[in-house]
């Protein structure tokens, strides 16, 4: 994938807002390469700047420094016509769906094609195909007020895909939905990515969304990219405090609770058939206390993590650490 030229490049991107309380830096020195066909996640806590970042990609927000390069063209300093053309190649969906309330489902999907001047007959045909793809072929005459949240997001996805975009920007697209509906929408996004070859950029504050569909992820914290890389790599070895916080999730709270030495053991699928903990206890002849454990589906592999409390005694602790090293299990010490 990396041999290809990136479809979107962000270079030293910065965005500052002038408010009555002075200048606020929303983004600072953001560098990212996004490749065609991948699902790229951008995760951060609220206020980290991720929504501003996605709006800079399609120039809904004009960056104050650096550049956005889309398919080799720097969007900076270009006229409105160029920006509009670029936007038509980038569909966008939102947390609040943002459907036109006075238009029915079919008319909503036809809307972007109306804007770009597609003949009506052709537009209706394409809209019907898209609505069939998202599973709403029987709700074409319904108005947004008559639909559930998940259905509204499906309409929004069909609408975003109407102009055959190369990129789909998803701004917290599942944050207003329940877990079950979230799963269905994520599956739909994955299908669109696979079947139509659309590059998907997902903005979220939920690690579970990243784990479910993303190939690569960038963690954004306090206007900066804290770390970026393959989801499985970031998951098994987060290098920054924010990365750890986002990945550990509930477990992070456990870490804060305990004062003892703790180890975080990462299972990347290979070890799941082996009774690692039992073998550890038998080999080291030392009891360990399991504080937290979970298994997640990260990009198709079962990734697990476990927090164990190890004895205060230095020799016993070292014995455990050495054992883990010899059986080549990924682990790290957390305090």
């Amino acid at each position: 994938m990396e041999q290809q030229n990136p479809i979107i490049q962000l270079k030293n991107l910065g965005k500052q807002f002038k408010t009555s309380n002075g200048t606020v830096t929303a983004l600072d020195d953001i560098n990212l390469d996004i490749y065609p066909g991948e699902i790229f996640g951008i995760i951060g806590l609220s206020g980290a700047g991720k929504s501003t970042l996605v709006r800079c990609i399609n120039y809904l927000e004009t960056p104050t420094s650096g550049s956005v390069i889309f398919e080799g063209v720097n969007l900076g300093g270009k006229g409105q016509a160029v920006i509009r053309q670029a936007r038509r190649s980038m569909g966008m969906i939102f947390q609040q769906f943002n459907l036109l309330s006075q238009r029915n489902v079919l008319q909503n999907v036809c809307f972007p094609m109306e804007l770009s001047g597609t003949p009506k007959k052709e537009a209706v045909k394409r809209a019907q195909e898209l609505l069939t793809m998202v599973g709403l072929e029987d709700r074409m005459k319904a108005y947004p007020a008559q639909l559930s949240g998940g259905q509204k997001q499906r309409v929004a996805i069909a609408r975003a895909m109407a102009t055959n975009p190369k990129v789909l920007l998803c701004d917290e697209a599942t944050s207003a939905l329940d877990p079950n509906t979230t799963k269905q929408i994520l599956e739909l996004l994955k299908r669109i990515n696979k079947e139509m070859g659309v590059t998907v950029i997902v903005i979220t504050h939920e690690m579970s969304v990243i784990e479910a569909i993303c190939d690569r992820v960038a963690i954004i914290d306090q206007s900066h990219i804290a770390e970026a890389g393959k989801v499985s790599e970031i998951f098994s070895n987060p290098k920054t405090a924010i990365g750890r916080q986002l990945i550990l999730g509930d477990a992070a709270r456990q870490v804060a609770l305990g004062k003892d030495r703790q180890l975080r053991i990462i299972f990347d699928g290979r070890e799941s058939s082996e009774p690692v903990i039992s073998n550890l206890v038998l080999a080291c002849k030392t009891p360990v206390n399991i504080m937290y454990a979970e298994t997640r589906d990260v990009g198709g592999t079962a990734m697990g993590q476990m927090l164990i409390q190890i004895p205060e005694d230095e020799t016993e602790a070292r014995r455990i650490i050495n054992y883990l090293k010899t059986i080549k299990v990924t682990f790290e010490e957390v305090r």
Partner: protein, 221 residues
């Protein structure tokens, strides 16, 4: 007063004149007010095409016009009316001052209706590469339609109220009947009758436009 054919004809003529004044000036005031309202919203600092200087100046002019009492506006507009209509008497002559009073009012009503349109929907249209014109025509106007119709119910009935003042400067309609017969000639009964007719007209206009708004609004299940 007696209910002979002269009185009935006079009242019918009055109703006709009032409706003519109100609807003609409402139409003209909307033709001027809608574009002004659009300019107010679109050129606002956080609008889709910010031109803050223009927005501020326009807002100021609208406020100035709105603060002039209608009865004064009637007198000030006399030369303008004579130039446009050719006379300062009758129902036609009241239309220019009514439009001058109503247009800035309507501009503000339209502005507030447009501001109700969800900013997210406008952003979505922008993300699809919509031009400013396309956003005005295909997003702002259709999405604001139910609210614009509610605003029209309020605006038209307000214009009806203003039109009743026309009697003082020799305009026509029910207002001048109420003033000429009811007030100057002490025919209280005539005053009551005209007022009741005005109340009925207000009711009909209000209910009709509210109904139009409700029927056109797709947000209701």
């Amino acid at each position: 007063m007696t209910w002979d054919s002269t009185t009935v004809n006079m009242l019918l003529l009055g109703i006709g004149e009032t409706l003519f004044m109100v609807f003609a000036s409402s139409l003209l005031a909307y033709i001027i007010g809608i574009p002004l309202g659009i300019i107010l919203v679109v050129t606002d600092v956080d609008g889709i095409k910010p031109i803050p200087v223009l927005q501020k100046i326009l807002g100021l002019v609208i406020n100035l016009l709105r603060s002039v009492p209608f009865i004064i506006l009637l007198l000030v507009m006399l030369p303008v009316t004579r130039a446009i209509v050719g006379t300062t008497l009758g129902a036609k002559a009241i239309i220019p001052p009514l439009v001058a009073a109503a247009a800035p009012y309507i501009a503000r009503m339209v502005e507030s209706s447009f501001k109700e349109v969800d900013a997210g929907v406008i952003e979505a249209a922008q993300s699809m590469g919509a031009t400013t014109w396309q956003i005005i025509w295909k997003v702002l106007l259709p999405e604001a339609k139910p609210s614009l119709l509610v605003g029209a119910a309020i605006s038209i009935t307000t214009i009806l109220g203003y039109s009743a003042m026309a009697g003082f400067v020799g305009g026509g309609g029910l207002g001048s009947i109420a003033i000429n017969y009811g007030y100057y000639r002490y025919e209280t009964e005539m005053m009551f009758v005209t007022v009741i007719i005005l109340v009925v007209i207000v009711q009909i206009i209000q209910e009709t436009w509210m109904k139009l708004s409700k029927v056109s609004d797709k947000r209701i299940r």
